[in-house]
Amino acid sequence: MIEVSGLKKRFKLTKDHKIDKQQSIDPRQDTDYFHSVRDVSFHCNKGEVLGLLGPNGAGKTTTLRMLSTALLPDQGLIKINGVDVVKDPLLARKKIGFLSGSTGLYGRLTAKENIEYFGKLHGMNKKVLKNRTEELFEMLDMNSFVHKRAEHLSTGMKQKTNIARAVVHGPEVVVLDEPTTGLDIMTTQTVIKFIQDLKSQGTPVIFSTHHLDEIDLLCERVSVINEGISCFNGTLSQFRETGNSQILNEAFLNILQEQSNV
C-alpha cells in the first residue's frame, strides 16, 4: 500500500525566475520560492491502479519524484508498505519500481545488460537475476532483441526494456509517470498490458497520465492535483459525479474549474 499525506515541496527561485515573478500570476510563487507541491494526499491499495491527473505543471512529477525518493519532501508523510521513504530511502527504493515516458537507457549497453545492471544495483545475485531476466524476456516478448545495443532499438523495444528494467527486482509497488507519452499505439498497448498484469498480481500502481481513456481502462480510483494541491480523491464513479459529466475529459475540466473558483 502507498500512503501519501500532507506533502509539500518548494524550490528556491533562481535570479531569472525572480524576474519572471514580477509578471507571474501563479499563486504558488512568492518572493524566494516556488511552492510546487502545497498539499497533496492520496493512497493506493493492494491490487489497485490509482490514476494521477492534473494539468501540466500541477506538481504531479514532483510528487512522484518524492514518492520514488529522488526528491526529499519539505513536509508530509510517504509510506510504502509501512516504510517511511524519508527515514529509510534505501529500503523504500527496493520496494519501488519507477518508470516514466522520458526515462532513457544506456545506449552502448545491450537491452540485457541494461536490465542486469539495475538488477545488480538492487543487490540481486547472479542466479536469481538470470531467472528473473529470462522470465521478463519471455513475458515481454523481448528475446529477439535482448542482445542488441539499446541505441539500435526501436521506441517500442526501448519501452519494453524500460519496463523490464523497472520491475527486474520484483518491486512491491510501481510508480508510472506518463509512461505512454509520445508512444505509438502498439507500444502504448504493451504498457497497458504491463499495468494490467501488475494489477492482476496485486501490485499497487500509481499511474500519472493525460490520457483519460487509459484512466477509464485501468483505474479504480483517481486523484487530481491542481496548482500543487489535491483537489479530488475518489473512485471513477465519484469522479464523474463530482465533475458533473459521464465524459471523463469534461468531468476533469469541471473539477479543475471548481477548484480554481474556490
Partner: protein, 400 residues
C-alpha cells in the same frame, strides 16, 4: 560502487570518442602531429638556410674588400638594379625586389684609416622568424672588421697575441657542473609536464561529461538515483571511472612517447635524448607517473562536479573551456625561466607537480619535497572529491 564502476568502464570502452581521446590521440595522433610539425619546420629551416639573397651595396668603392667578400659569398646575389639612397633600398625591400641593401658612407675609407668608427646601414625585413640575412651580413662584416683590426694593430706594432689580449682581456674557461641529464632536463623538463598534464585533464573531461551531464540528458540519471545504492557510492563509482580514464591517457602517452622516441632514435641522430632518457631510471619514471595520480584526482573531481551541475552535454562542454584555462595558467608559471621548485612554488597546485616532474627529469630532485607535494595534492584531491560527493547529493544541482 564497483558495479557502477564496472558498468561505466564497459560503456566507455564501447565509445569511439573515448577511445579516440584516451588511446588513439596519444598513440597515433600525437606522433603524427609532432612528426609533421618537425618535418614542416625542418623544411622551412632548410629553405631559409639555402635561400640566396638578392643584395645591393651603395658605396662599395669605399670598402671594396667587403664588397668582394659579399660578392663571392654563396648565399648572396648582386642585384642588377643600382640603388643610390636608403629610401630607394627600403622601397625595393618592401616591394620584394631586394632582400638586403647595404649603405656604406662615402667617408668610410677616411674614418676607418683614422681609427674612427664608421656608420653603415643595413636595410632588410626582419619579420620572419627564420631569417638568416642579418646573420650572414654580420658574418661578412665581422670578417672584414677582423682584417681592418689586424691592419691597424700591425701599424701600431701590436703583436697578434697582444691584439687578442687587447680585444678580449679576460679569457673564460667554462666548467659546467651540470651533466647531460640536468642540461637536457632543464630544456625538456618543462615541456614534458606541459604535454602530460593537459592530457590528464583531457582524459578526464570527455568521460566526465558523459557520466554526469550525459546521464541527465539521456534521462538515465533519475533511474540510477532510485536504486538502493547511496549517492556517495554512485558518485564514487563515476569518479573512479573518470580517474582511471585520466590516468590511462597519461600512462598510454608516456609509453607511446617512449616508444616513438626509441623509433625516432633509429632514424635520426637523437642519441643524446635516448641517452638522457636511459639515465632517468625506473624509480624517477614511476614517481613521475605517481605524481600524476593525485593531480588526476583533482581534475576528475572538478570535471565531474561541473558535469553533474550541467543540464546538457553542450552546457558541460561550455564549462570545460574556462577550466582548461585554469589548468594552463599554473603550467605557464612552471614554464617561466628560472622557475625553481621551492617551498613557495611547492604550494601552488599544478605548478608544483609540473616543477617536481621537471626536477625528476633533471635528476636534481629533493625527494622530501616530492613527498610533500604528493601529500598536499592528495589532500586537495580528497577535498575536491568530497565536494563532488556533496554536490551530487544536492537536489538543486541534480534537478536544475
Amino acid at each position: 560502487m564497483f558495479e557502477v564502476f564496472k558498468k561505466e568502464v564497459r560503456e566507455l570502452l564501447r565509445d569511439k570518442k573515448t577511445l579516440l581521446f584516451v588511446v588513439a590521440l596519444p598513440v597515433l595522433i600525437f606522433p603524427i602531429l609532432f612528426g609533421l610539425m618537425g618535418f614542416l619546420m625542418s623544411q622551412a629551416s632548410l629553405e631559409a638556410e639555402q635561400k640566396v639573397h638578392v643584395y645591393a651595396i651603395t658605396g662599395s668603392q669605399y670598402a671594396p674588400e667587403f664588397a668582394e667578400k659579399v660578392k663571392f659569398h654563396k648565399s648572396f646575389k648582386l642585384s642588377e638594379v643600382k640603388y643610390e639612397t636608403i629610401d630607394e633600398m627600403k622601397a625595393a625591400v618592401r616591394a620584394g625586389d631586394l632582400d638586403v641593401g647595404i649603405l656604406i658612407p662615402n667617408d668610410a675609407r677616411t674614418t676607418l684609416s683614422q681609427g674612427i668608427q664608421s656608420d653603415w646601414k643595413v636595410v632588410f625585413n626582419d619579420a620572419s622568424a627564420l631569417n638568416f640575412i642579418y646573420k650572414r651580413v654580420n658574418d661578412a662584416m665581422k670578417s672584414f672588421s677582423e682584417i681592418l683590426q689586424a691592419e691597424k694593430f700591425e701599424q701600431l706594432g701590436v703583436t697578434k697575441e697582444e691584439s687578442i689580449a687587447l680585444l678580449n682581456p679576460i679569457k673564460i674557461e667554462k666548467i659546467d657542473t651540470a651533466d647531460k641529464r640536468e642540461n637536457l632536463g632543464e630544456k625538456l623538463g618543462a615541456f614534458i609536464p606541459y604535454l602530460l598534464i593537459p592530457l590528464v585533464l583531457a582524459g578526464a573531461s570527455y568521460p566526465a561529461i558523459d557520466l554526469g551531464a550525459g546521464e541527465k540528458e539521456r534521462g538515465t540519471l533519475e533511474t540510477l538515483l532510485l536504486t538502493p545504492v547511496t549517492r556517495t557510492e554512485l558518485v564514487l563509482g563515476k569518479f573512479f571511472t573518470v580517474l582511471a580514464s585520466s590516468l590511462a591517457t597519461a600512462f598510454i602517452t608516456v609509453v607511446s612517447m617512449g616508444f616513438w622516441v626509441s623509433v625516432a632514435g633509429n632514424f635520426v641522430d637523437a642519441k643524446i635524448i635516448t641517452e638522457v632518457m636511459g639515465t632517468i631510471g625506473i624509480v624517477d619514471l614511476s614517481l613521475i607517473l605517481l605524481m600524476l595520480v593525485p593531480l588526476a584526482g583533482i581534475f576528475s573531481s572538478l570535471v565531474l562536479a561541473i558535469s553533474i551541475y550541467a543540464r546538457t552535454f553542450k552546457e558541460a562542454q561550455n564549462y570545460m573551456g574556462p577550466l582548461s584555462m585554469v589548468a594552463f595558467m599554473p603550467l605557464l608559471v612552471a614554464m617561466m625561466p628560472n622557475m625553481e621548485l621551492t617551498m613557495n612554488t611547492a604550494m601552488i597546485p599544478i605548478t608544483n607537480v609540473a616543477l617536481a616532474i621537471k626536477e625528476l627529469i633533471k635528476g636534481t630532485v629533493d625527494y622530501s619535497m616530492v613527498g610533500m607535494i604528493f601529500a598536499a595534492t592528495l589532500v586537495l584531491a580528497g577535498v575536491l572529491m568530497s565536494f563532488c560527493v556533496h554536490w551530487f547529493k544536492k537536489e538543486s544541482v541534480l534537478f536544475r
